[in-house]
Amino acid sequence: MREKKVVIEVGDGAAIPDPEDSGLFTAWRISFFGTLAIMAFLVITKPDPYLAILKYLPDGIVITFKVTCASIALALVLGLIAGLGRISKNRFFNLAASTYIEVVRGIPLLVQLFYIYFALGHLVRVPDLVAAIIAMGFCYGAYMGEVFRAGINSIDDGQTEASLSLGFNRSQTMRYVILPQAWRTILPPVGNEFIALLKDTSLVSILAVSDILRRGREFASESFLYFETYTMIALVYLLITLVLSKLLSNMENRLSHYERR
């Protein structure tokens, strides 16, 4: 059978734990338990200031997750539209989607954040948190658009032809046949984007949003313990992304089971 084998490569994001690596010492385990051990060691041996820093951060963690989840939801919607636009035969829709992706990819995320934040500020008064989410979602939507496009293109043309020959139109074919299959190809890179986005939300600390990094900076500027604070912040981010990448790889394994039977 002819089948297109496509691997979507997204350089960004945490490395997914290698499912082939079944030894006791995997890169993931070393990183994860190493991080936990260092955190425990610091907190127990020097509770002042490390425990104090750790206690100061939970509010920021909640905000970081809020921004990440809301942004990824927005990015998924924009990404689906952009991805469909990129493969659309409608010239206007196609051009609009391509231009969106081209423009967004050409501007640094931090500059976009500032720009959207202040541009929005001119038009409507929205809370800082909402402005940050819109900016992050708008930017990541472009990257997600390329992921969707690649995922849709990875599905064999025969699937489309079979669907059309039964009487489905193009959009029904997309909905019932292509997207449900493309989802499995799309999920890993989407997961990677999620983790990359979570890390990039540290940028919103500049927009007066009290995420993990912002909380840390507040603590540091009061205590002048810059080194200790940023050590703890790095460890917290690392722990979160390690847990997420593990969850992601487990989910992938479960999704791919029917392909291997």
């Binding site: 059978m1 699937q159 032809e161 079979a162 009487g167 489905f168 139109n169 449900p180 039977r261």
Partner: protein, 246 residues
């Protein structure tokens, strides 16, 4: 033969892929209930011709009328015409994310708005017909090629088409699985289905075809009854082709 009212009427069709001419002034009519087998060397345009009948390929010029409806007339909804024209592909193209049963019921439920139970009942009857009732809950990857192709035939039949198109249905199969698929096709032919079949199975052509169409380089070279075609071919190119394969 009643030539007055064909169910498929192809008139002077040309098809270009860029500057390559895949079909050159092709005309062919198929009566209701007729079985037409299209033969020819690879690259002769036979698959392209088949794919124009349900507009998977648009023609560059000429006209195709299926069941009284002109495919080139934008007034006619091509999707409604396709519902009446089932197609079976070389590479099966079963929906990989659906079970066998769901492959059969998807189109009837979504397009014909059949109730789920009714669609499933009909699907089980069709699976019984192709001998695969016990595979209803399987996914396509779990089936052999021959089984997948029989499911694909059942899926096309689930829409109750008036015409069935077969595009080299056995070419991707291991030799020991070809028989089981041909058997289903012969049964279907006996029941009176209108069929247009592109194939290299000469035995099938001889046994089932009402007429054999021989194509080469985008043109129809010869149209004849199978006995006449195989035993007394008129055209030199036909003779050469038959010598090579028989």
């Amino acid at each position: 033969m009643n030539a007055a009212n064909p169910i498929i009427s192809i008139q002077n069709v040309n098809k270009f892929f860029g500057s390559f001419q895949a079909l050159a002034d092709v005309s062919l009519t198929v009566e209701a209930g007729q079985k037409v087998v299209v033969l020819g060397p690879s690259g002769s345009g036979k698959s392209t011709l088949l794919r124009t009948i349900n507009q998977l390929e648009e023609v560059s010029s000429g006209s195709i009328v299926v069941d009284g409806r002109d495919l080139c007339d934008p007034q006619n909804d091509i999707n409604r015409i396709r519902e009446e024209v089932g197609m079976v592909f070389q590479s099966f193209n079963l929906f990989r994310h659906k079970t066998v049963l769901d492959n059969l019921t998807l189109a009837p439920i979504k397009l014909k708005k059949e109730p789920k139970l009714q669609a499933e009942k009909r699907a089980m009857e069709l699976l019984d017909k192709v001998g695969l009732v016990d595979k209803a809950a399987s996914y396509p990857v779990q089936l052999s090629g021959g089984q997948q192709q029989r499911v694909a035939i059942a899926r096309a039949l689930a829409m109750n088409p008036k015409i069935m198109l077969f595009d080299e249905p056995t070419s991707a199969l291991d030799p020991e699985m070809i028989g089981e698929v041909l058997e289903v096709m012969v049964t279907l032919a006996r029941e009176g289905m209108t069929m247009v079949v592109v194939t290299h199975e000469m035995g099938f052509a001889r046994e089932v075809a009402d007429k054999v169409v021989f194509m080469d380089e985008g043109r129809i070279i010869e149209i004849a009854a199978p006995d006449h075609f195989f035993d007394a071919p008129e055209n030199d190119r036909t003779k050469k082709f038959l010598e090579q394969i028989l």
